[in-house]
């Protein structure tokens, strides 16, 4: 399974990679913003996307709306400091499949990933 990490912080991407590695996921692609992520998405066809909200060049919500408009159905987990209910609703309406608020525990991140993948598998 290939997973695309989209976050402008390399530190966060490294933390996510460590968590994914403990879950047995090592096929990882990385992008630092939405523009780069659109290119990586086309090049690599990931099975899951972890997506930050606030990023330079193109933010996560714009990226999400863009790919859903283009018919991309890859499951997306928003992983962001934007914790307000209104933001969660906005992300779900834009096409997010799940939502993780930063800061996150390893357990929470693992649970959301497994939850999202199992939902997709049974859909």
């Amino acid at each position: 399974m290939k997973i695309l990490l989209v976050d402008d912080s390399r530190t966060i991407r490294n933390i996510q990679k460590n968590i994914l590695s403990t879950l047995g996921h090592t096929d990882i692609v990385e992008s630092a913003d939405g523009v780069e992520a659109i290119v990586k998405l086309k090049e690599t066809s990931p099975d899951l996307i972890l997506l930050d909200w606030n990023m330079p060049n193109m933010d996560g919500i714009t990226f999400l709306k863009t790919i859903r408009k283009d018919g991309v159905t890859t499951p997306v987990i928003m992983c962001t400091t934007e914790a307000e209910k209104s933001r969660v609703i906005q992300a779900v309406q834009a096409g997010a499949n799940n939502y993780v608020v930063k800061p996150f525990s390893t357990e929470t991140m693992a649970e959301k990933i497994e939850q999202t993948l199992s939902r997709v598998a049974t859909a």
Partner: protein, 162 residues
Amino acid sequence: MDVRFINPFVKSIQNLFKMMLDMNVTYGKPFVPNSDNQSRPHVSAIIGFSGDASGAVVLAMGKEVAVRIASKFSGIEMDLDHVDFADAVGEIANMIAGGAKSEFVGLDVNISLPSVIIGEHHEVTNSKAHPGVCIPCSTSVGDFHVHVSMKVNKAAMAGATS
């Protein structure tokens, strides 16, 4: 500054340090910084706020404590010259700001991307438009300060009371 903004930051700092660094934070009494009591940090990470409330939060640390906290947060040993040191410190400030803003009830607020300043004994000051308070924080790896300067904008206040 509206003191109701202090608790959201205190709560957010505690939550972040507990969850991602496995550390408790204890707090000193918040004070209004001036030329006599001003801290002189080596590393500062800044996040700006805009929207119904505006201002900034500055995570201000000495060199040693900044290196220890960034290393613990990222899970790798860092020094000031590490390629990801500023990124790690900026992300910590980002999480503090994001966590606090989620507690600003009834206010629609946006946060900026982080900026990080590294330089010996620099000074953190607030503009007159955004007077602030300094929250002293203590952890097992050292002490640091969080400067908070927030103001509810008039348009938002008018909206809230109409």
